[in-house]
């Protein structure tokens, strides 16, 4: 099994964190994994992304040429990474923040209104984790329980204030997954 995924958005949406959660879950399942961020002059509001590899075998390049999957949490990321999806690959588009039509016929698109979905949940809810839930449900690359365990473990290292948001995160994750099983009409 080899899975390469790019998570992209604007600074503050949690693209990097979504990638780290994925890696932690991969470690829990005993898989090999790498995570590498775009780094440097990134800031809140600026474009940010990370590349994650998950595999049963040793991972050579942490840098991804063409990804099996791209999670684009805004329109800028959608434009930037549409060409980085492998032929036959898949891209999640955040229809809440993008009106741009898909350009390619050789890949699958999943349109998810991430921000509208987040508003339906206990606040605060998290678009990155909703997208992660959708990704896991769609690809089955890791078990949902592993992702929950990963978030639970990571929460232990956080401050009391942030730790309290774990249930919200789990709710977001599950809601993302349920959207794939049964897409809701969003009003």
């Amino acid at each position: 099994m080899d899975m390469s995924v790019i998570v992209a958005g604007f600074g503050g949406q949690g693209a990097l964190l979504a990638g780290i959660i994925l890696c932690h879950a991969a470690v829990i399942e005993g898989k090999k994994t790498t995570w590498i961020p775009s780094y440097g002059a990134e800031m809140r509001g600026g474009a940010v992304n990370c590349a994650v590899n998950i595999s049963d075998d040793e991972i050579g390049s942490p840098v991804i040429d063409k990804a099996d999957f791209v999670i684009a949490m805004n329109d800028v990321s959608q434009i930037k990474f549409e060409d980085k999806v492998k032929n036959g690959g898949c891209m999640i588009i955040n229809s809440s923040l993008s009106n741009i039509k898909p350009n390619r016929k050789d890949i699958n698109y999943i349109e998810i209104p991430l921000n509208e979905l987040a508003h339906k949940l206990t606040q605060p809810a998290f678009v990155n984790v909703i997208a992660l839930g959708a990704f896991i449900e769609k690809t089955k690359v890791l078990k949902m329980e592993s992702v929950i365990s990963a978030m639970t473990e990571m929460a232990k290292t956080l401050s009391e204030k942030k730790r309290k948001l774990l249930p919200n995160n789990i709710e977001s994750l599950k809601f993302g997954a349920s959207f794939i099983k049964n897409p809701l009409p969003v009003s």
């Binding site: 995570w35 590498i36 961020p37 780094y39 050579g60 390049s61 942490p62």
Partner: protein
Amino acid sequence: MAKVLVKGNEAIAQAAINAGCQCYFGYPITPQSEIGEYMGAHLPKMGRVFVTAESELASINMVIGAGTTGAKAMTSSSSCGIALMQESISAMCCAEVPGVIVSVMRGGPGLGNIAPAQADYFQALKGGGNGDYKTLVLSPSTVQEAIDLTYRAFYLALKYRNPVMLLADGILGQMMEPAEFGEYPYEDPDVSTWALDGANNREPRNIVSLHMPEGAMEERTNRLFEKYQAMQENETTYEDFMLKDAKLVITAFGTVGRVAKTAIKKAREAGMKVGLFRPITLFPFPDKALHDVAENADLILDLELNKGQMLLDVRSAVFGACPVEFYGRTAGGLLTPDSIYEKICELYKKIDNKIEAGVN
């Protein structure tokens, strides 16, 4: 001990702590600032020394001060910051002061950019400092190896009383992957015979890099080079990946080595006999081993994230045993598995054509 998910820079910092690093002196610079940040968060709590120096020049000179007392000291920086340290690295080699210098390379020359690159091979190996000297240089390609080589760097610095450089790049510094820390595996050499620990009940000592009496500096330099010879004999290491029957041998150091592996696996699946020779110690360079490999190969392809620096050491080691080609990107341009694979295909055709034509 279980594997943990850890960022390259933080892995180096934690490994330094495990290795018993007593003092860290540094000045922040991308892409290695997490090392200083991590040290700042942990060392003071452990009763060890952490100083944010006023410059890289100050950092390396603080390392010299600590090193002369036999303490395990470290600094870290990136390209243009390491450039400022060159004079002091030369002085450390001359005066035989141990210390660990972590260099996480970014794009250059000049202030360059903050993207990953390997363009400081010459800086690390051929030195910007004056005189006849050598720095031990270790080059990790994975986060696990960054931990293992950080341990080794502290050990070798004391063993040889010489600065040791851990030469990484922005990819390794910034990436996360699972790794195991284990325990510091070395028994540290005794420093009591030379360390400046207060001349109480013994003759005073000094550790200096100025040797004026007639013949003194040549004698010292000769002795230093006996030490470098011992490093060459005892410490040279490299990775052999699918070299046994390889016709096309890739040479690469650091992260380029691991990227090349993905391309090599793909080439093997397509029936091409390709392997990787990856020097882990850049000085001492594994030249004898590389020469032996070259004698059984049809072609060597050297890959680097620069304009061809290790290439000179590769050519020198190969010494005409087979042709050497170079392919590189620099200053943030990356070698990807696909681009390496294309290069392999292109060059492998040349080898096949030669064999068909009966040319050896």
